[in-house]
């Protein structure tokens, strides 16, 4: 009986020692990262770097949200108000010649075109309809001013630990930025 009790205490002693070592170890991991964690901004958000974005369309399909948290935004300071907007129309010669309804690119009819006075048109985006397919972005970037571009809308983004779109992004355009400047990248590019 004595022997058994001895054995139990020995086991308990080893266990207590290991427990102490584990608490110290886990604590040390936490403590080694705490200073860095306290220094870094409280929240980091996912955002798209428009300079790298190639408007491949993954944003529309890979986001965990349906429809995607990414939307097209329109930088009116940059927009040339083109009559033949290649964000609005397909980039085929027929589209340019006829410019009819059948040549509009946007699959959800999310771009609203308004007449401003010859030959200028205003293009605004109906965000409820936009699915972030990037067709208009591609056209505007290649043939226009690049005033249409994709951005993560932070009222929708769930800020996943691993962004599913970032994992699928072919051009490494997804970056994490501090939450106090949630839409910085295009502005910075133009020195605003």
């Amino acid at each position: 009986m004595d022997e058994k009790e001895d054995k139990l205490t020995r086991r308990d002693f080893v266990r207590a020692g290991a427990r102490g070592a584990c608490i110290l170890g886990v604590g040390a991991v936490g403590a080694s990262m705490a200073p860095r964690a306290l220094k870094s901004p409280e929240r980091m958000l996912w955002q798209i770097d428009p300079a790298k974005c190639i408007a491949c369309g993954n944003c529309a399909t890979h986001c965990v949200l349906k429809p995607s948290a990414v939307k097209c935004v329109h930088d009116f300071d940059r927009c040339g108000r083109c009559k033949f907007c290649f964000g609005y129309y397909e980039t085929s010669p027929d589209a340019v010649a006829h410019a009819g309804v059948e040549y509009q690119q946007c699959p959800t009819d999310a771009i609203v075109r308004e007449y401003l006075g010859d030959p200028y048109y205003e293009y605004t985006i109906d965000e409820d309809k936009c699915i972030a397919c990037g067709l208009c972005v591609k056209g505007c970037k290649r043939f226009g001013n690049g005033s249409l571009y994709l951005q993560v809308n932070h009222d929708r983004c769930l800020n996943c630990n691993e962004c599913a779109i970032a994992a699928a992004c072919p051009s490494e355009a997804f970056v994490r930025i501090p939450a106090d400047a949630p839409y910085p990248l295009k502005d910075k590019e133009h020195g605003k």
Partner: protein
């Protein structure tokens, strides 16, 4: 006129394409004083509770769950904490960041250049420390992934012990892979293949929704399949739980060896008494032990070798390695056409040699990581084998220290425990 404009546009357009970059081609027109320019839409960041509140809620939930499981011995209490955690950490917070995923952030942040947030550090550390104190009460009622499986468990089917033991290696493998991929920057696979997060958000890709629903369907009959056969954080918690200061007992009173608790446990975590079974002959047991001890290093080396063989395939999880292999194949003419990624790479004008050099660094890191991971999984397998040949005498039914999830289901099935409650209710002496 239209044709002419079109022609000009197409020429301009082609010029633009050749350069392949964004240009300021058409200066915005002067639109007169009456023109009001619309505002570019930049929606505000979603409001969430401050980080401190989440940490406080996590601590509160763990303390409450521990109080209900260890002190009040109330399954109902544990269940209620679980339901509340499922609602908040699952459905309201969208299941992210969770302690399971935080393994990857912490592993990646071993590199001092990698940023990490306080919530993530706290979510990694707090459940581990809590488990060292109280056992796996975090699993019982705080983890939303555990809770969602627990609330749907209606008809548990017993999984044979040998199968549970063998499948127990899966979480170890998953943990090692997740750490290798997180440290080498290949991605966070725990988050990518989290089966329940799409259910918490009621949104996600069809594949993930199907995966999540399948797990839930299995959870109707098999107790917590994710927790027991996949969860990488559960591996760490299992180790911590073996050393815990306090833990759930089936009843504090003397066991009458009825065996009802063993049937009540849906997770196969209750061990039978074995004191009346004759031990194996001393010589035979010793021979098994010696053989497994000799086998252990062989297993570890074999595991390392297998991991090394799997390394190049694992390396393709890394976007840079994948891209470099694709570009190489395109340049060699082994594949026709280009991908979005290879087009994007060519547009940047970077040299392919630089890309190949980066890729080979990542590849060798992942192959090294794969070797370590393989050896580690084999080591755990060897330790499990060794543990099989070490006999521990149990005189009563006991909850296994490592695998007991502290859910408290066994309390209500233990006749001794029921008698104890009844007597306490009558105000009589607590036996």
């Amino acid at each position: 006129m239209m044709r002419l404009v079109a022609g000009v546009l197409v020429v301009a357009a082609l010029a633009g394409t050749a350069a392949g970059e964004e240009k300021f081609r058409y200066p915005p027109p002067e639109l007169g004083p009456d023109y009001v320019q619309p505002r570019t839409s930049f929606p505000a960041v979603r409001e969430t509770l401050p980080a401190g509140a989440d940490i406080a809620l996590l601590v509160t939930a763990i303390l409450l769950a521990s109080y209900f499981a260890l002190k009040l011995r109330s399954r109902l209490g544990v269940w209620c904490v679980g339901a509340a955690s499922l609602a908040y950490f699952g459905f309201i917070r969208g299941g992210c960041v969770c302690p399971i995923g935080s393994i990857q952030n912490v592993a990646a942040a071993m590199d001092p250049r990698v940023a990490i947030s306080m919530v993530v550090v706290a979510f990694f550390v707090i459940p581990l420390i809590a488990t060292l104190l109280f056992g796996r009460t975090f699993c019982a009622a705080v983890c939303p992934l555990g809770a969602i499986q627990d609330v749907v468990l209606v008809h548990p089917v017993r999984v044979p012990a040998w199968l549970t033991g063998a499948l127990g290696l899966l979480p170890v493998a998953y943990l090692s892979l997740a750490v290798v991929f997180a440290v080498t920057g290949a991605g966070y696979i725990i988050c990518r293949y989290d089966p329940f997060v799409s259910l918490f958000r009621l949104s996600g890709s069809a594949n993930m929704l199907i995966l999540g629903s399948s797990f839930l369907l299995i959870s109707l009959f098999v107790g917590r399949p994710y927790c027991r056969f996949l969860c990488p954080y559960g591996v760490l918690l299992g180790w911590m739980s073996r050393l815990s200061q306090w833990r759930v007992t089936i009843t504090p009173d003397e066991c009458v060896q009825c065996g009802l608790c063993e049937n009540a446990c849906p997770f196969g975590a209750i061990r039978k008494p074995n004191a009346d079974q004759l031990p194996r002959e001393r010589g035979a047991g010793r021979a098994t032990l010696i053989w497994t001890l000799i086998l252990a290093p062989v297993l570890v080396i074999a595991g390392g070798w297998l991991g090394r063989q799997a390394g190049p395939a694992m390396a393709r999880m890394h976007a840079t390695v994948w891209l470099a292999e694709r570009i190489e194949m395109e340049e060699d003419g082994r594949v026709k056409g280009t991908t979005d990624a290879s087009d994007a790479f060519r547009e940047t004008g970077r040299l392919t040699e630089a890309l190949y050099a980066d890729a080979s660094v990542y590849r060798s890191r992942i192959v090294f990581g794969g070797t370590l991971a393989g050896a580690f999984v084999a080591l755990i397998a060897a330790l499990k084998l060794i543990a099989l040949s070490v006999r521990r005498t149990r005189t009563d039914y006991e909850a296994d220290r490592g695998t007991c999830l502290a859910c408290g289901r066994c309390f209500d099935y233990c006749p001794v425990e029921l008698r104890r409650r009844k007597q306490r209710g009558k105000g009589g002496p607590i036996p």
